[in-house]
Assembly symmetry: C2
Homo-oligomer: 349 residues x 2
């Protein structure tokens, strides 16, 4: 299994965020990727750089408006006298009539859902590089590989068609799923399984009215865990997408038995759907060590996750999402990928 890695990811390195009424250190540190990378090198996985894709590839998922904003926001923000540490919105369009302001520096809350996702000088470049990792992985599967791992940073599953949020700017999983769906030349179905501890509200919103991409997620109850406003069980899709969105919110105190019961349900739904490809949004923030994560999974649980997903017998693209505990992050990812790879022989093609 190839690992696709963008060396320039570290140029995106926000200094701070606002959370819980306090200014605090930003958790998506470049060191996360270095930790994963060294664990994967020890496991003898081949690491390759992403291909270059032009911005049209990103616009298969994201609006022109949003891509233009993300590319120009930092410069406009600094020109308006705001903090050179990065764009952090302060005003948001709440539930009422609204209009998008024209001025880029005033649009921060239009294109973002929180105060934890700064746009710094090099964020756009890093987000494009991260998206290219996912697109490259999709092309590997389209070329016949049965597994690929996109080592994405920044992550993607909280980013919607026209907004960032939750450390995410472009939705790497949605970009990969869209490329897989559209790239094989025939009618094609893609299932996305999201095992990050947080609900992937961005991915859900992008495919909410689609019947050819199924989204299934196991995550902590949004009533108490980010992103709060999405991820409830009653969100099942709309229009032709009705029935193609599955949320399994769990109590943050759920034990591994409960967790794997929920995962089995989500996997079963994905298999019933009969996908040609599976995209896994892999977060390791469900690990017991992860202070930002909601669950208390053991390191070994990630091996079991990889094995169960492998047993689905579907060509699988893994996209890195969250996971912030530097000491065990690499091990969790390596165990997951090794278990996933171990079953490669059983894939019927």
């Amino acid at each position: 299994m190839k690992v696709i890695h963008n060396e320039a990811h570290g140029r995106h390195d926000p200094s701070h965020q606002f959370a819980g009424g306090r200014q605090s250190k930003h958790a998506d540190a470049p060191a996360r990727i270095e930790k994963i990378l060294s664990a994967l090198r020890e496991a003898d996985l081949e690491v390759i750089p992403p291909h270059f894709y032009c911005v049209d590839a990103i616009r298969t998922v994201h609006s022109k408006d949003y891509v233009d904003y993300l590319s120009g926001a930092y410069e406009a923000w600094v020109a308006a006298g705001k903090s050179p540490a990065g764009v952090i919105p302060g005003t948001f369009p709440v539930r009422a009539i609204w209009r998008r302001p024209d001025e880029l520096s005033r649009r921060a809350g239009w294109h973002c859902l929180d105060t934890e996702t700064p746009i710094t000088e090099h964020t756009f470049e890093a987000a494009v590089g991260s998206a290219c990792c996912a697109l490259t992985a999709a092309d590997l599967l389209l070329a016949g590989e049965s597994r690929a791992y996109a080592l994405c940073r920044p992550p993607g599953h909280h980013a919607g068609r026209d907004h960032c949020g939750g450390y995410c700017y472009f939705n790497n999983a949605a970009l990969a799923a869209t490329r897989l769906r559209d790239g094989s030349g025939t009618a094609c179905k893609v299932a996305i399984l999201d095992v990050d501890g947080h609900h992937g509200n961005g991915t859900q919103s992008i495919f909410y009215e689609s019947s050819d991409v199924l989204y299934a997620s196991v995550h902590a109850d949004p009533n108490v865990t980010y992103p709060y406003y999405w991820g409830y069980a009653e969100e099942t899709g709309a229009g032709v997408g009705a029935g193609f969105n599955l949320n399994v919110p769990l109590s943050p105190r759920a034990d591994e038995t409960t967790y794997f019961g929920a995962l089995a349900g989500a996997l079963e739904a994905a298999q019933r759907f009969g996908p040609d490809f599976l995209v896994v949004s892999l977060g390791t923030d469900g690990s017991a060590d992860d202070r930002l994560g909601p669950f208390a999974l053991s390191t070994g649980a990630f091996a079991e996750m990889g094995q169960r997903i492998a047993e689905a017998g579907v060509p699988t693209l893994v996209v890195q999402e969250g996971g912030y505990h530097l000491a065990t992050l690499g091990e969790c990812v390596a165990l997951f990928l090794k278990a996933l790879q171990g079953k490669m022989g059983t894939i019927p093609y």
Copy 2:
């Protein structure tokens, strides 16, 4: 003209806010009210305390859900381990399907539109006191007075039915207008004229579908000035309220001639409406000295504003909104009220 003043307003005194990507001092300082008060005492205006009103009076405008939230949010927030300096939301429901979380400490972004409106330990108490000032002023007009001034702090015009924002928690102008409309026993029309430098998005949203309360506002273009998402000229009301909402956004560089031309148009619309009462949302942040304000009005412009409004010949209730320059704030308010009072004799009743 009586001035209604809540002595306990100073118990609401947020230490900081997040704006422009930075943590900064909160601008709605208790000293604002002391400055206004001393200028009004010099002008020999009578200062009285507000009457007590039970929470039902506040629920004529605000939802039960929101009042419950505002009353319990601080305790829940601190219990959840977040900053004891006050509730400042970090995550907001952007434009997509959403659901309100049950947990109070997770609902901060549901009930607020920015990161500049902290809920501190005594905010609820101060907001109730501020609302009582406006309600008391309304009762004075209902009892036959032709003028009253509610010295409200916190201000109100950015607060909607179920959200705070822009330093505002309860919408004092909307509470007064509702009490005036409903309290006279006969069919009654109320015009609200908003001369704060910022658009009163909360007031607009509360009466957007009403034909018995007209909202007219002169303010800086929201494309470049808070609250960004509302206040555009095309927002003219909806349903039976269509045509009863008038926004006159001006360039922040507008001179006094332009400003008073716009004000004349708004006043004319209010008079055409034939109101039984006029509620003025008075902000002095259009003053040239005000660093938070958009315009460059002279101190004398506030006297002219008061005189023009007096010429409308309608019983008038003035509610204090913004205005942050401590050195001239009191003078601006006193000049406005003296000019307004000077014309009392012309009121035909």
